[in-house]
Amino acid sequence: MKKVIMGNHALSYGAMLARTQVVAAYPITPQTQVVELLSEMCADGTLKAKFIKVESEHSAMAACIGASLAGARTFTATSSQGLALMHEMLHWASGGRLPVVMGNINRSMAPGWSIWTDQNDSLSERDTGWMQYYCASNQEVLDTTIQAFKVSEALSIPSMVILDAFALSHTYEVVDVPDQAIVDQYLPPFKPVARVTPDEPHAFGGLTGPEHYYELRYKLQKDMEKAPALIEETGRQYEKLFGRYLGLVEDYRCDDAEIILVTSGTAGSTARVAVDQMRKDGLAVGNFRMKVFRPFPFEHCRRILPKAKKIAVVDRNISYGHHGMFAQEVKSALYQHTDDVPVFCAIAGLGGRDITPDTFREVVDYAREHDKPEDDILWIGVKK
């Protein structure tokens, strides 16, 4: 059924259709409506789940870890400062191999206090062992939430479904909300690898000496390496049932592009519009939107990006003292795989500054006029 809903509610409907059994969450702008709707669904019986109210995001993730270890399909959502407060528990979830799915609304980190979008909150958690999906539409948010459970549970690795503050979280779009019966076909009930049960007592997360810890980390990485293929496979299964493919990247008009823009999140859908405009002006530009950042889509980067003469990564985030983080990782992925295609590292839209088609035009104009970047970072729109 088609509904006009905000991005936050697309997350709620995704969690509902996945038949989430436990939700533990703490409200924070701009995430609040995600769990507000879920709490209503729990109260009126639409969703047969336990809603656990907690006193902080740290406790929210702790409760999710406990619930997941007890064998329940578990969901939460947060943003920015709340995600940062969860940091310790994010390692507990991934290290404990618990397939919790979490919505994170990209909101800039304080100070200065900000509720507007950029990606530094989730990218600060890139090394916690969570999968990360950056969405570009409300439909993609809903679909990806359902897919995330399937992939997470198959690999015993938690997932973050990420969307931009306000640009998606509070923006209403038409979303096809799938039938429960077909979602059930796609996503059967959660079967945990091991769980807390009196029938078979175990100690979980106990002291792990140097003789075992290393192997546990090796196994986490090995399973993470299985994720790209599994995301594509489950994306194709999703397409068969619902008509929408859910892949690792979206490459748009890249085949004959001289300059490929690398983007993510809603900036990626703005870039698609910008590409169409520039194509009308005779510029051979393409857009490579990275939807999945963890696991990193190495194969797609190495296959698609070197087709261009120049690559321009537009990051809505920064690793202070380095570049934007997508740019870092694109460069690292291409190293020793391509003949010196220059990579321009642009930063734009920090703290919710609008990213418009003109932003990409400026990046492309710069890339056309320069053989190589003059500086490590190309700052777009800074008031100098």
């Binding site: 290290g95 404990g96 191999r97 015993s156 690898v193 091991a194 175990h202 100690a203 979980f204 997360g205 106990g206 002291l207 792990t208 000496g209 003789e211 075992h212 810890y213 192997e215 546990l216 090796y218 196994k219 986490l220 399973d223």
Partner: protein, 99 residues
């Protein structure tokens, strides 16, 4: 149920044999945390009324009931003193370790 003391340390030869999560690795068998102890509980059994409060309160499960009386497992007792504090007849006293 086997006694803790009789259990064997688990060492996996290959990652393939290991569970994916840190789970029942038996690591505490050879990590005798009792060695951290500075003061030790000693129980005067003649004053013990067999109430089981020390057994219930011990946070490290280091008090076992044998022949209906409490016995301290000094391999794991860290000497926190909770048993002595809670004992209603004060028959548990904390004595300084001399090593």
């Amino acid at each position: 149920m086997p006694k803790k003391k009789d259990a064997k340390k688990i060492v996996f030869a290959s990652e393939k044999d290991m569970p994916i999560m840190p789970m029942s690795l038996g690591s505490m068998l050879h990590n005798k945390t009792g060695s951290w102890r500075n003061i030790r509980p000693e129980i005067k059994l003649e004053d013990c009324i067999q109430c089981g409060i020390c057994w219930k309160f011990c946070p490290d499960m280091s008090i076992e009931i044998e022949n209906e009386f409490p016995v301290v497992d000094y391999d794991y007792c860290k000497g926190c003193g909770i048993c002595a504090e809670e004992c209603p007849t004060k028959c548990i006293v904390m004595v300084e370790e001399r090593k």
